[in-house]
Symmetry: C3
């Protein structure tokens, strides 16, 4: 995320924190997190009424987005595509690099600069890490820069996923003081799950949160996150036994085994069934607890869990669309038009 | 097709039959068929004038469709995409499963549920049979269901194709009493042609229709259809000789050899040239007869036939777009806005 | 390009030259070139203001375009897609022939006719030469023809690229009498670069232009272009040494080695580094000269050149979008609505 100079911002909302590129979830601060969550809630409410949906669609009708997704994606792609459509934006897409000029040997930078010639924002997802940051750096050197939104860049960064996770946590606990003071379990392939990693980095913005990592030793949370938590005095513990901790948790965030990042089939050496939930685990879980998952899921959540009121992952998924609308509103500096609405 | 409870329907058109999922052509009844055909004709007339086209585009500007087409398709895809655009809907598409989360092992049901999180209707075409019905069943169990439109599911079901065929027949015979009383020839690979199969199932809605099947023995109409016709007392005969029956026909519906469904190259054992039309066959055909074909065609219709006024297949193709607009109008319960227009 | 009968044109701009299909750059004449360039400049100016962008988007909201791009393309695809969106048009695309009915053996002509059933204009790019002309011929025989725009057809034709090149030259020299009288260098793979070939054919529309071809002998400009220049008394010279001519040039149009057209790796036999520009070459170039390139580039332009004010290729790229808007305005006969605006 690049902080924009507030003085460049038109209108009276000068106290508002500007947003241009959205690259790295770690730089998000509490005021902006709260503002984005409030915006997402407002957008959702506005969109429910027919005239509200038309109002939203009239906010950015002449803006154009580029969705450059060379890594497979369903959720992130569709939620951005539809977030754009909700605001009236048109979208162009490149999802198969074989249809682009990369096959003629064009450099990554020249490709990004080309996209920027035609559109007003670039949303990108790549297999290689660092590409979104590289694109943002390029933009900062040219005369007509457009904002870059990182929609997943290698295995470590996925800022809008982190935002929608925060939003889902906050919304689920809205009648119980929000995220502050909650005990959050993170389970599964913590080593390579970029969503849980990002979420940990954002926890410093909340008071008295404690974390419980439930993972096989081989896929434990990495030391950069552990050090970050220590540095910010965020309490955490690590375990391999869900049943010993589940009754303490307010939220259980589950992730799948990310075997696509395997180097030597290391995921096959682990009994991942111990890191899953079904009716038995649910019976130990708090009545007002919530189950989250970034999806897609494997066997780690039994489909019977879907019917349980504590299953929050489908709502979490849909929250992603509203949060991405909120991010676009901030980037295009039109959040004020939603904030001043009398809901 | 799922019948909607008429009491849920707003406004005064309570006698109108509601439509939610569109899965199986066999359940369509005459009143709904007539209503959809009338709607399609009205939409086409309205779209011709500039102000009418703008009126249409203002009907569903804030609705969003998902086109999930993992089986190759040109006509069905483009006609749905453009039908949506005619009504102002935005569209998102997945056509290459390699770009979606299926590559990460996501289940079919989770994929469909994900689509439903972001859009208002899912149009889907798959190689495997039964997928659209499976998706509709899933929708009927969740809190925020969206309608599923089957745009071709394996080799046996393709309801909107059946609708556009009915529409083309009815419109072509509009000055001669419609479909009732007509003799309709169906020629080609009747065994595996889902369009001709669906059409047969719909014939029970019309009076005094008789059918003539013209097909090689190996690709004759299957017994389920034959039994259905007997049950509903719809007269039919079967032949391998077009020239012996062509002069009797009011309509000749031709299909191509569907060799993509071959198990052991069985289509190569048949001389398919006997099941084609060219100038010689046209000379035996009624002056007011019509030639239909679902397209794409192979050699079974000589391109010189295209110039003949009886060639109806290109208009049939375009009718598909108008019929799909009509289906969307019904699903979104806004058909009344077209019906009350003074054309 | 097909000249339309001016008498078909509504309104009072009867002196205006009509445009329907856009196939072959060679038929463009000076009045139409000037009109399109003026339109592009007006569109760009209008689009800068929010209300202007909304005005543009309200010009063709109910028109629909088909982008049929079976040859890889980034720039041409995106610039057409976004040009359509600027005018409010919706777009449908086929970029991967594996998703279309070609896999079922449909003929090229039937495919094009199918597209024309659903949309109002077809923009197409193919690997094989002559396809766009073939499509236009088909359209001229059917009852409901739609215009065909050639967006690259094999190695020899790319009319809208030629138009954007003319536009960029004219605009760059607008304070120095335009293109007339300029010395234009064309460097690189002149044999197979369709953009430089097209540009040469258009030079007869301008007075006192002289051309300098800078290319390896194996990739020299072909005889059809050479003969055309002789016929129209357009002076030119050929060299292999950029440093001997660069100081004379007003514009240097550079192209990459088009090795994708190699038959026997012939491009590898050439030292292409002699046909590139970097700081050293720039130091010899006129202060008001311009560097153009159709992009994508290889090593023939050092990226440090991008910061030089004479580097025009990124603006040239964006000009392509405005010129394509201008072409669409002409085809849909609504250029008058832009021309009468008081800018």
């Amino acid at each position: 995320m690049t902080q924009r100079d507030a003085s460049k911002k038109p209108g009276k909302e000068v106290q508002s924190t500007g947003l241009f590129h959205v690259i790295d979830p770690q730089v998000f601060q509490r005021p902006l997190l709260d503002e984005l969550c409030d915006l997402a809630t407002r957008v959702r409410a506005v969109a429910k009424r027919a005239e509200g949906a038309r109002f939203l669609q009239n906010l950015l009708p002449t803006s154009r987005a580029m969705l450059y997704f060379t890594q497979p994606s369903t959720r992130t792609f569709l939620s951005f595509d539809n977030a754009c459509h909700i605001l009236g934006m048109s979208t162009s897409e490149i999802r198969n690099p074989a249809t682009s000029s990369e096959v003629k040997g064009e450099s990554f930078e020249d490709g990004i600069r080309t996209f920027s010639s035609y559109v007003d924002v670039i949303v990108m997802r790549t297999q290689e890490p660092g590409r979104a940051a590289q694109a943002a750096q390029l933009m900062d050197t040219i005369a007509r820069p457009v904002p870059i939104i990182n929609a997943g860049s290698g295995s470590d960064q996925h800022p809008t996923q982190a935002l929608l996770d925060i939003y889902t946590l906050g919304r689920s606990f809205s009648d119980r003081g929000g995220i502050d003071g909650k005990i959050i379990g993170l389970m599964g392939d913590l080593k390579r799950g970029r969503t849980v990693r990002s979420l940990c980095y954002l926890m410093k913005n909340y008071s008295n949160v404690s974390l419980v990592f439930i993972a096989p030793k081989q896929f434990a949370m990495q030391s950069d996150v552990i050090n970050h938590l220590k540095e910010h005095n965020i309490p955490f513990k690590e375990t391999e036994k869900l049943n010993e901790v589940i009754s303490d948790l307010d939220a259980l965030y589950i992730t799948r085994m990310q075997s696509e990042w395997d180097e030597v089939n290391e995921s096959q050496a682990v009994d991942f069934t111990k890191f899953s939930v079904g009716p038995k685990e649910l019976s130990l879980f708090k009545e007002k607890g919530i189950i989250m998952h970034p999806l897609p899921r494997g066997a780690e959540i039994d489909t019977t869990v879907d019917m349980d009121p504590r299953a929050m992952y489908w709502r979490q998924e849909r929250n992603g669309m509203w949060m991405r609308v909120a991010v676009l509103l901030k980037i295009f500096q039109i959040e004020g038009q939603i904030q001043k609405l009398d809901l």
